[in-house]
Every structure is written in structure tokens, then in C-alpha cells.
């Protein structure tokens, strides 16, 4: 097992060595928003891995960008030009819940047809994870098979030990990455045990919980229940919960043309938007927030389970924190469980 230690004073040379070999993405503060962006040494906004619980926008942006050109074309000649290839990259500071979320989304993008855009990016993106030692008030990953120190989906796991970081390679790719930056690292000895303790302590600090095993079955029986009216009343129908959710993957496809040149691109879409399922005839199978909220909760906790045997939620709590009207998924789940 490849285990290393990085003294915090060597942080810059570690980051620089990573950046030299491939495109490095780091969480950066833009205004009040933390998001993963490609790192450049001229970065004005300083990187602050210690000062945040989790990025506001999940790192899914690296493999599923908000807006992505699918291909360009000439409408005159009717010629299609496929997209350019992307480079190898590594994301530093990914929380374990977000890495697990990417594994969940993989199921959809590999179902029967391969979504080449997403899968190509996934293949070329390495994830250097950072275990959480101070979970956020709305985190509930432990209720959904997650943990502040889970290694699922990660190539390397880092744990903050105070004066240094402990690093453990999880995959072969992770091992190779650690080898490539060997000069800034030391061998680990007792740090492995220290890391385990910190992770265990963090698990104990998670305040919010839910027993989710029976939720999929219960949801199947609650289709016409009045609880959906009550839950969806305050909903504004904005896309915040879906955009900031690491397992949400819905997208729209649009054509943009200027003169004879154009591109077909895809961009994030939200099932909470009113016109998400609007037919050209004007008919909308989900005409109000009640149906859309019901669909979203069912998709995450029921349909995904029927299809792929997993709940499409990792308990990161972003939807709870960011909902402008405080619609709380744990509140919804407790109502679902009480309803029967």
C-alpha cells in the first residue's frame, strides 16, 4: 500500500509538481462560491483547502460541464466537425461524497449507449480526495453508505493531520500520481493510524441522520398522497437544488447559429423548471411544482434504486443548505416514512 506524508510547508511545491504534469483543478473561492476550476499560478483568489466544508458547486463540473459543445457545423455545406479532445487532469481536494456521486452518475451515462463526452472526461480525470474532519451541519453521508473517509471513486485519499497531510493511493493511477510528485513527499509511518482516528471522529460528528432502506418501497405507495402538496408549496421551481447536487445529471440540448456557423451544445437542465417536460402541443405531464417535486424525490430514492439498485443521493447536504426557502430533503424523507 502506497502511503505518504506531505508536510504543509511543502504544499506549494506539491501543487506545482501536480500542475506541471497535467491540468490541475482546485477548489477556489469566487465571491461566496467555492468551485473547482483549472489552476493557474497567476490565480488571484487563494486556494483555501482548510477553510471550507465542501465546494458550493460540486466537482461534477469537471466531467459534466455546465455548458459543453457537442459538435460544430456549417449549415451551408451541412458539414459536422466533432469536438476537440481534452487533456488529462487531476482534481485536488474532492470530498469523498462527491467521488461516490460520480460513480453513481456513471451508471446513467454508461447505460446501453456510452455517452462519449462524459466517459472520456471521466477516464482522463483523476480524483485526489480530501477526507472531511469537520462535517458540515447538513451532511448525512453516513446514512447512505458513505463516510467522511470513504475511498470509493477516489484515486488518492488525503487526510489533514494538522501540520501535515497523510496520503494513501487507492488505485494504480493514484499510485502513479504519488510517484510523479515523490520529491515533495515523505514515507508514512504512524500517520495511517492517526488518519483512521480523525476519520472515525468525523463520522461521530455527523449530526443529521435518516434510515433510508425502506424509503424506496414507501415511495412506491405514496403516489397520490397529499404530502406532496405540502412539501412542494414553498418550492420556487428554481434549479438551485439540482444544479448543486452531485448526482443530478439532466441536460438540455440546443443549437446556436451565427451566420452559417453553428454548434450543438448541451447544458445543465433541471426537472424542477416548469418547461422541462412541456410538449410542443402545450401539454405538460408535470404541470405544477407538486408533480415535479414528486418526480424528483421518486427519481433519487425510488426509480434509480429500481434501475441500478442504489439510492441516487450521497448525503452531501448541498440541497438543504442552498434551498432559498429551506425545503429540506431530510424533512421530506421523515414525512415519507411517517406517511404510512
Amino acid at each position: 500500500m502506497t502511503e505518504k506524508v506531505l508536510q504543509k510547508e511543502n504544499w506549494s511545491s506539491f501543487v506545482q509538481a501536480l500542475a506541471d504534469a497535467r491540468e490541475l483543478w482546485l477548489p477556489v473561492k469566487e465571491g461566496p462560491l467555492h468551485k473547482f476550476v483549472p489552476y493557474s499560478s497567476e490565480q488571484e483568489t487563494p486556494v483555501d483547502l482548510e477553510g471550507y466544508a465542501n465546494s458550493s458547486v460540486p466537482p461534477k463540473e469537471a466531467v459534466f460541464p455546465q455548458t459543453e459543445t457537442m459538435f460544430r457545423y456549417q449549415t451551408g455545406d451541412q458539414e459536422i466537425c466533432p469536438p476537440e479532445a481534452i487533456k488529462e487532469r487531476v482534481l485536488l481536494g474532492v470530498r469523498p461524497c462527491d467521488a461516490r456521486a460520480m460513480d453513481l452518475v456513471d451508471h446513467v451515462f454508461q447505460w446501453d449507449e456510452d455517452d462519449t463526452y462524459y466517459l472520456d472526461r471521466r477516464k482522463k480525470t483523476a480524483l485526489l480526495g480530501l477526507a472531511c474532519h469537520e462535517p458540515f451541519p447538513n451532511c448525512f453521508c453516513t446514512s447512505l453508505e458513505g463516510s467522511p473517509g470513504s475511498t470509493q471513486g477516489l484515486d488518492v485519499l488525503m487526510v489533514d493531520l494538522g501540520e501535515s497531510y497523510y496520503l494513501r493511493a487507492v488505485t494504480d493511477r493514484g499510485k502513479k500520481i504519488l510517484q510523479s510528485v515523490e520529491s515533495s513527499l515523505e514515507e508514512a509511518s504512524e500517520q495511517g493510524k492517526q488518519a483512521e482516528e480523525i476519520i472515525k471522529k468525523a463520522e461521530g460528528k455527523i449530526g443529521r441522520k435518516v434510515e433510508a432502506e425502506d424509503v424506496p418501497e414507501k415511495l412506491a405507495q405514496l403516489w397520490e398522497d397529499p404530502l406532496w402538496d405540502r412539501i412542494s408549496r414553498a418550492c420556487l421551481g428554481c434549479g438551485t437544488c439540482t444544479y448543486l447536487c452531485p448526482t443530478c445529471h439532466c441536460f438540455d440540448i440546443q443549437d446556436e447559429v451565427e451566420g452559417y456557423e453553428g454548434r450543438r451544445c448541451r447544458m445543465w437542465d433541471s426537472c424542477m423548471f416548469g418547461e422541462y417536460t412541456l410538449h410542443a402541443s402545450g401539454h405538460n405531464p408535470r404541470p405544477s411544482r407538486r408533480e415535479r417535486t414528486r418526480n424528483r424525490i421518486n427519481h433519487k430514492y425510488h426509480y434509480f434504486v429500481r434501475k441500478f439498485d442504489k439510492i441516487a443521493c450521497v448525503g452531501c447536504g448541498r440541497c438543504i443548505t442552498s434551498c432559498p426557502v429551506n425545503i429540506d430533503i431530510l424533512d421530506i424523507l421523515s414525512r415519507v416514512k411517517e406517511a404510512l
Binding site: 469566487e30 465571491g31 461566496p32 462560491l33 458550493s56 458547486v57 455546465q66 455548458t67 458540515f136 451541519p137 447538513n138 405540502r230 408549496r233 414553498a234 420556487l236 421551481g237 428554481c238 434549479g239 438551485t240 444544479y243 448543486l244 438540455d252 440546443q254 446556436e256 451544445c265 447544458m267 445543465w268 433541471s270 423548471f273 418547461e275 404541470p287 405544477s288 411544482r289 438543504i320 442552498s322 432559498p324 426557502v325 429551506n326 425545503i327 429540506d328 431530510l330 424533512d331
Partner: protein, 327 residues
């Protein structure tokens, strides 16, 4: 001052009336300092109502947010009133909706609560990170008292209030069936310091400022959806036939979206500050809309939502209107 017990009693009385469907107010949220909208249908529900400096949500938006779906055959539409708890700015939103005929007078029952300004959530988190673990707040003269599980803290109002509250001219509801509390003294002449700063900057600096802000926009449409004035069933900025603003997210399209929305709000924005509060990217939309509010006030002497008898600003013409700045 406003007594929460008074609000609860009044709410119980109102929802017991036959002609009232429900009352919308505020209640404590599920974590930290959050407050969520609360629908009171029975007198028991009313016990959860609160009113404090944390009650930012503008509940007027729910008057127009509720979808009017076709009813099954034989069913009559529910014509009972929706009762609403409003602060000063919220009441102006209700008045503006009235003048625009977005709502009918008989549809609503407005209960006003005088407000001394609500807390800016980002400022609260910055100054008091422990607020995420739970906090209650109340106004105390020119201070705000915060009650944490570990003890109480005090801070000057100006340091914690939301931007739009600092330059609020209408802390008392302007139109209500009943006002549940003592009126408060207005504290501002309406000039927003953030706007003045930008006005003094050069056009290049202003573009640079907004470029940085709009580049962060996620196009979640929270600002539009929370705004009580944005209630078009078919928003022109969503339209595909023709496509006015592309759905792809980049600085150019985002700017087009926000500027278009700001113009659609000219003479209609009541400065409730919700757009800025809900934005997950923290874009200072308040500055943009407040600039338009000030322009309309300075040049036309008009303020949205202050007079239920007034005509909508963009839809009326007064021969006395100034024209010297047009050409």
C-alpha cells in the same frame, strides 16, 4: 415592536374564518438561522409562526406562484382568500401586483408587520459561523440580539442588516387590512451606498465589475422565480421560438438575461432584496435593480407599490414626464 403572540392569535382568528383558505407566514427552519414559509390552515398550525430579523422571505411571491390548473368537471374554483403576513417591502409587492392586476383585491387578506430590517445571511455566517448550529434573533433598539445555545451576543444593526434594508424607506406596511404591531420610524433616505460607489466608477470599471459577477451566474433562475414581480407564465427569457437568450451559460448570455430582467422590472421592483438573498453565486443583483429604482424615483418621482390607485409605471404616460434625458 411586534409581539409574536399577537401574530399567532390573529392568525388563529383569520384561519377560522369561512372565507379564508389559509394564511402564509414564517416559521423556524430546519437548521441554523433559516426561516421557511409556513402555511397555516388550522389554529394549531398557527403556533409555529414567528417574526424576527431572520424572516427574510418575501411571501407575496406565493400569490402568483401557485399554478392555476384546469379543474375536473363540475368542480368550482376555490375563491377563498389567501391571508399573508407582510413586512414593509412585501406589502409594496402586493400593492404593485394589485395595480398590475396580477392579483385581485378580494383574493388576499394582508396582515402587516412593521419591520426594522432583516439580517443578511452571508454577513451573519461571516461574523458568527456558529449561527449554522442554531440561532434566534430579535431587534433591540439599534442593535440586534442573537441567542445561541451557548449564550447571547449583540451587534449593531448596520453591521448585520441586508443591503436593501439599510436604505429602506418603507419599513411599515403601506397597505394592509390590519397592522400587527407599533409602527417604526423610517431610518433611510433611500440612497443605496453600493449603487453610489458604482455610479462614480468609470464605464470600463463598471463593465469589469459586472463581468466578474455575471461570469459566476449559474442560470438557476432563483432570482427570477423568487421575485414577486416575475410571474409571466411563459418567460420571454426561456422562449425558444424565437430564442432571445441562449440557454448556454457564459458571460454574454448571463449578462443579457440579467439586464433584460432588470429592464422588465423598471418601475416595478420594490427593493425587497430577495433576488440577492437567494442567489447561490452571491451576485449583487440588489445593486442592479436598486439603480433602476433610483432612476425611476429621481426622474419620474415614481415608486413601485406605494399607491394602490396608481397606474403601472411602464404602461402609463404623463405629459408632465421629463424628457430632457432621452435625447
Amino acid at each position: 415592536m411586534v409581539d409574536q403572540a399577537v401574530i399567532r392569535e390573529k392568525a388563529k382568528e383569520i384561519v377560522s374564518r369561512e372565507d379564508v383558505k389559509h394564511l402564509v407566514g414564517w416559521r423556524k427552519g430546519t437548521f441554523g438561522y433559516r426561516v421557511s414559509p409556513h402555511w397555516v390552515e388550522t389554529p394549531e398550525d398557527a403556533e409555529k409562526l414567528i417574526f424576527s430579523p431572520l424572516c427574510s422571505p418575501n411571501l407575496t411571491t406565493y400569490l402568483t406562484l401557485e399554478e392555476k390548473l384546469p379543474l375536473p368537471k363540475g368542480e368550482e374554483p376555490d375563491r377563498r382568500k389567501t391571508a399573508l403576513l407582510v413586512k414593509g417591502c412585501d406589502s409594496r409587492a402586493a400593492v404593485q401586483l394589485l395595480t398590475e392586476q396580477g392579483i385581485e383585491k378580494e383574493q388576499v387578506l394582508i396582515l402587516g408587520v412593521p419591520c426594522r430590517g432583516v439580517i443578511d445571511q452571508r454577513k451573519l455566517e461571516e461574523k458568527f459561523p456558529e449561527a449554522l448550529g442554531g440561532v434566534e434573533a430579535e431587534w433591540d433598539g439599534d442593535k440586534i440580539r442573537l441567542r445561541f445555545p451557548e449564550g447571547e451576543k449583540e451587534i449593531a444593526r448596520e453591521e448585520l442588516l441586508a443591503g436593501n434594508c439599510l436604505n429602506c424607506r418603507y419599513p411599515n406596511p403601506v397597505w394592509a387590512e390590519e397592522i400587527l404591531g407599533d409602527e417604526v420610524e423610517p431610518w433611510s433616505d433611500g440612497k443605496a451606498p453600493g449603487v453610489e460607489e458604482l455610479e462614480k466608477a468609470s464605464p470600463d470599471d463598471r463593465w469589469a465589475f459586472w463581468e466578474k459577477e455575471f461570469s459566476r451566474c449559474l442560470r438557476c433562475y432563483s432570482c427570477r422565480n423568487v421575485c414577486p414581480m416575475c410571474y409571466c407564465e411563459d418567460c420571454i427569457l426561456d422562449r425558444l421560438n424565437p430564442t432571445w437568450v441562449y440557454r448556454s451559460v457564459n458571460y454574454s448570455e448571463n449578462t443579457a438575461f440579467h439586464i433584460a430582467r432588470a429592464f422588465h422590472l423598471v418601475g416595478r421592483c420594490v427593493g425587497c432584496g430577495e433576488c440577492e438573498r437567494v442567489c447561490p453565486a452571491g451576485i449583487p443583483l440588489g445593486k442592479l435593480n436598486q439603480k433602476m429604482v433610483e432612476e425611476v424615483r429621481d426622474k419620474y418621482g415614481f415608486e413601485a407599490g406605494t399607491d394602490p390607485e396608481s397606474l403601472p409605471f411602464q404602461a402609463s404616460y404623463d405629459p408632465q414626464d421629463q424628457e430632457d434625458f432621452i435625447l
